[in-house]
């Protein structure tokens, strides 16, 4: 470990910590965490945003600091618009200039199926008539009908499945079939835990959440592929080592790189989640959690699962993945090297 500026090395290069010794414990821990995340989602329910359910979401700024939340809610109720959810829109603006709210009006099932409702205009008109048209500034309005919402949701799930399938295939082709289930289960585990965390803190589940999950998939697989690449290389160079030992060495060797890359990514995301502006902040927070979990899972979920797959495949008789055994298999047992007979010794 050296911390000289310009030559920082976080983990010593001679480190040989036995990661795989703890793999049973950590797989159990990961499984428990996944189950907890699923339970949170099942019990608390996903906080569907209007992207999937349909409805109206308006981002309205009130330029008068004297206008309070209760007054706004009362005005909306008086206009007979229905139950709305108001959240303050974050950002670094000064509070004395007034505040910005995100007003969300979910679509009632049965209305506005095939076309958008006119609730958005009603809402803005009601607010403007109550507080004065100059004090109410509409930042943005999003109005989604039920039909589109349902389609977006299904497309989101399909997109995740497609990403998993594509990666499964690529890793099976590029590395070996043993590696791909581990990688994909590691990704699924990351997405579920990120989803559980976001549901636990009550963030909305929208199209950008699915985008964040897909990006988490992209990053986590990055880490996992680095470890797999090193495993593949170590196997070729040191074929007599057991897979457990190979995996341990690979993880030890790539530990520096993993930690530094994750740290860089996390720093960038931290900046975004504080300063990115309302829409990006949720996205950045999801990704932050996702990269944290993804780094852990590349070491402690992907690799142990690969070992398990290896064991399973060996029992099934598929042993040819080992390069040395491949060479042995290629050798012809009846091969007899030709005998060179010299008549005379050379001068």
């Amino acid at each position: 470990m050296s911390f000289r500026p310009g030559n920082i090395e976080i983990f010593s290069h001679t480190m040989n910590f036995d990661f795989m010794k703890w793999r049973h414990l950590t797989i159990g821990f990961s499984a428990v965490l996944t189950v907890i995340a699923l339970l949170i989602v099942a019990v608390k329910g996903l906080n569907y945003s209007i992207d999937f359910l349909g409805g109206v979401e308006a981002n309205v700024s009130f330029k008068d600091p004297g206008i309070h939340r209760e007054a706004i809610e009362a005005a909306i109720k008086d206009a007979g618009i229905g139950a709305v959810e108001m959240t303050t829109f974050g950002g670094l603006e000064a509070k004395d200039e007034g505040s910005t709210y995100v007003i969300r009006l979910q679509r009632e099932p049965g209305t506005a199926e095939n076309a958008t409702s006119d609730k958005a205009e009603k809402l803005v008109a009601a607010l403007k008539s109550k507080f004065g048209a100059d004090k109410v500034v509409v930042g943005s309005i999003t109005n989604i009908s039920g039909k589109i919402g349902k389609e977006e949701e299904i497309r989101g799930y399909l997109a995740l499945l497609l990403a998993f399938g594509g990666i499964l295939l690529y890793i099976a082709v590029r590395f070996d079939a043993r590696f791909s289930p581990g990688a994909v289960i590691c990704l699924v585990h990351d997405v579920i835990i990120a989803l559980g965390f976001m549901t636990a803190i009550g963030k909305p589940f929208s199209v950008s959440s699915i985008a964040a999950f897909l990006t988490i998939v992209g990053y986590s697989i990055n880490d996992t592929v680095i470890v797999y690449d090193r495993i593949r290389e170590t196997q070729i160079l040191a074929p007599r080592l057991s897979l457990v030992e190979v995996v341990n060495r690979s993880i030890n060797q790539t530990l520096n790189r993993t930690v530094i890359t994750s740290a860089t990514g996390l720093v960038a995301l931290l900046v975004l989640s504080f300063m990115g502006g309302g829409a990006i902040e949720d996205f950045a927070l999801t990704m932050f959690v996702g990269i944290l979990v993804g780094t852990y899972s590349s070491i402690y979920v992907a690799a142990p699962l690969t070992l398990m797959m290896d064991g399973v495949l060996r029992k099934m008789g598929w042993k040819l993945a080992d390069p040395l055994e491949k060479k042995k298999a290629e050798k012809d047992p009846n091969f007899v090297p030709p005998v060179v007979v010299r008549k005379k010794t050379p001068k």
Binding site: P5, A115, N143, L158, R174, G218, A238, R257, T264, G277
Partner: protein, 667 residues
């Protein structure tokens, strides 16, 4: 060469300087992998290290003498070629990125007169205008403000209307030919059942139907019912024609509305995306787009007197359990159908309501008057050549009026229609002007109008400016053409201009801070190669922006977040390479050897890692909505650019540093 004792032999020959021997033996005896395997032999690390140093020196000397392989004393020609390629990429990147940052060309101060008339005053602007390409990064709606609409076109109804019209014409031909046609039933899946009084005449009638519409083919005869099935390919063609026509009409309307850079395109089979950046009045634009503007002229029939008609309507409402206040178009259609089926009105008549709207609140209906008109209009709005909004002269309270001028064919049909209305048996002598299934007016025809001019009176409004705008909008819509089918808005996103600017500011600020932190981290951790990596990262960001500008992709706020994430990915590539170089140095190689080996070994790793990330990015590109697509585009562009910058550019720079300078540590 992996013979046992190979290394011992060369240990003995260490002091000899027989170059040829060394060449012959060393070039084949010391491949790189040998050094790895030595690591596993049970010698102490000191011995191993010393041995490897010797090996590498020998190899280095031999190879450089023979001038082969990748280790050179001087930088080879190939290096200069690489530098040239990178410079070209740099120039390309700068050329496409700079125009975006120089502001709007129409806002540049220009020379008013003289030989430089029209040229911008500042030399920088002149350079940008004359030498650099004209592409700017187009900002998405959440950075610029504007309106985004997703419209669904009701092609079903349109096909049904087309079938109705065709079968109506066929029926007329049949009646003149003496074939009696009974009820016509169009089912939801476009199957048609027609009742024929005389089944023997079926061939003639089938020919008449096929003449009128190519959307149907004859299926079979059931008793005295003829069944027709739809031709799917023709219907598909017709649907795509409707979509194209709708897109053209909407584009016409928007052009006349005066929006800069709108984009309208088809999505899927039935949907149209309309994007209008920088729009000031979204409500008016939405009305303009959704307005079907179906105009037709029909003869008013005199089968029943007014009060009898109202009694029939009440009866129909009771039978269909419709409330008395329900005057919507759909319920009127149902009432008409019920009346036709129960033979209360003739088969070619239909009910239309003339609705009076409240002057203040357009949605409230104050009065309703029923009219019995022809079922199939002979004169429709597509035969209008021009429409202008003018002020009516003929009453004390000025009303807005839209004057219509028909095309020659339309003028002829209008002449025939008014002549028919003038005939004595059509007693009220009225022609109903129907706009969007609402009887706008039913003027009495005093004499046949052969000039091809007509007028539509607009309702009165309290606000004369609003009334004038309404008349202008209607005239615009009639000029641009009626929509071939009804469109519904299924998704709408509006962003105000102030929010757009705010988003840009926030996006730029957060990317700047993130970039600064990442640069700092790389310098602290890696020193010299961190500096090179930072330069590569900035080059990367510039290439992404150039790519966006060159290909006309839009930059959205998530796109800016994508650029920040790409910085992390770019840096990751260099981290992999540098860690590899550090490993090689520890294994005992010289700086140069470690450098080359590091780059060689990490290329495969980089490709694998980036391709798998790109898979996720591609899925995002296909799946996402407009703003997520912006993110996916920057992410993918970043991944492609990263392979170029993090690997290639840093390799070339590092090669120069390592070969030509006395740098002790590159990693």
């Amino acid at each position: 060469m992996h013979r046992k004792g190979c290394y011992l032999r060369h240990k003995k020959e260490r002091k000899k300087t027989n170059v040829k021997e060394l060449q012959r033996s060393s070039a084949s005896c010391f491949p790189e992998s040998f050094c790895f395997k030595v690591q596993l032999l049970p010698f102490s690390s000191d011995t191993v290290m010393k041995f490897k140093l010797q090996v590498s020196r020998v190899y280095h000397a031999a190879a450089s003498l023979k001038d082969e392989g990748r280790v050179f004393r001087n930088l080879p020609l190939f290096w200069w070629v690489k530098v040239a390629l990178i410079l070209i990429a740099l120039v390309f990147g700068l050329a496409y990125t700079i125009p975006t940052f120089t502001g709007d060309p129409s806002a540049w101060p220009r020379h008013d007169s003289g030989e430089m008339k029209g040229q911008p005053r500042k030399w920088g602007h002149r350079f940008v205008q004359n030498w650099l390409p004209d592409s700017r990064i187009s900002l998405g709606l959440d950075l610029r403000g504007g309106l985004h609409l997703l419209l669904e076109v009701d092609t079903e109804q349109s096909i049904r209307d087309a079938l109705n019209r065709a079968l109506g014409r066929a029926r007329e031909h049949a009646t003149t030919a003496g074939i009696k046609v009974g009820a016509v039933d169009i089912k939801p899946d476009h199957h048609v059942e027609i009742e024929l009084e005389d089944p023997a005449k079926k061939d003639e009638f089938v020919k008449m139907v096929s003449d009128q519409s190519y959307l149907l083919t004859f299926d079979r005869l059931d008793g005295n019912k003829l069944r027709f099935v739809p031709r799917q390919t023709e219907i598909n063609t017709y649907t795509s024609q409707i979509l194209q026509q709708a897109i053209g009409t909407i584009r016409n309307r928007i052009d006349q509305f005066g929006v800069a850079e709108p984009s309208i395109f088809q999505q899927g089979d039935h949907r149209i995306v309309v994007q209008m950046p920088g729009l000031q009045d979204p409500a008016r634009a939405k009305e303009l787009i959704g307005n079907t503007a179906r105009l037709d002229f029909r003869l008013v029939l005199n089968e029943h007197a007014q009060d009898k008609l109202e009694a029939l309507i009440t009866e129909a409402r009771a039978a269909l359990t419709l409330p008395a206040e329900d005057s919507g178009a759909e319920s009127v259609r149902r009432i008409s159908q019920w009346l036709r089926e129960n033979k209360k009105i003739s088969a070619n008549a239909t009910l239309m309501l003339g609705r009076q709207y409240d002057t203040a609140n357009k949605a409230k209906i104050t009065a309703v008057q029923p009219y019995l008109v022809e079922l199939n209009p002979k004169l429709t709005g597509d035969l209008i050549e021009d429409a202008q909004a003018t002020r009516g002269q003929d009453s004390i309270i000025p009303t807005e009026v839209v004057s219509l001028k028909f095309k020659p064919q339309g003028a002829k049909i209008f002449g025939d229609l008014t002549t028919e209305a003038r005939k004595s048996e059509n007693a009220p002598h009225q022609i109903a002007i129907i706009l969007d299934e609402n009887v706008n007016s039913a003027p009495v025809v005093n004499e046949p109008i052969l000039t091809g001019n007509a007028q539509i009176t607009m309702g009165r409004r309290l606000d004369s400016e609003l009334a004038a705008k309404e008349a202008q909008d209607l005239a615009l819509v009639l000029r641009a053409g009626a929509l071939p089918a009804a469109v519904k808005i299924i998704e709408e996103r509006q962003v105000g201009p102030s929010e757009g600017e705010e988003n840009i500011r926030v996006g730029l600020l957060s990317s700047a801070v993130a970039a600064a932190l990442v640069i700092l981290m790389m310098l602290l951790i890696y020193g010299n190669s961190g500096l090179v990596a930072n330069f590569a990262m900035i080059f990367n960001v510039m290439l992404i922006l150039a790519f966006l500008a060159a290909f006309g992709a839009t930059l959205t706020l998530p796109g800016i977040a994508g650029i920040v994430l790409t910085m992390a990915v770019a840096v990751d590539g260099n981290v992999i390479i540098n860690e590899r170089i550090r490993e090689e140095m520890r294994a005992g190689h010289s700086v140069k050897q470690a450098f080359y080996k590091g780059y060689d070994a990490s290329f495969g790793t980089l490709v694998d890692a980036h391709v798998t990330s790109a898979v996720a990015g591609l899925v995002l590109l296909v799946y996402g909505n407009a703003s997520v697509k912006g993110f996916a585009i920057t992410l993918l562009a970043g991944i492609i650019a990263t392979l170029f910058t993090s690997y290639y550019v840093t390799e070339v720079i590092g090669q120069w540093l390592v070969e030509k300078t006395n740098i002790k540590r590159f990693h």
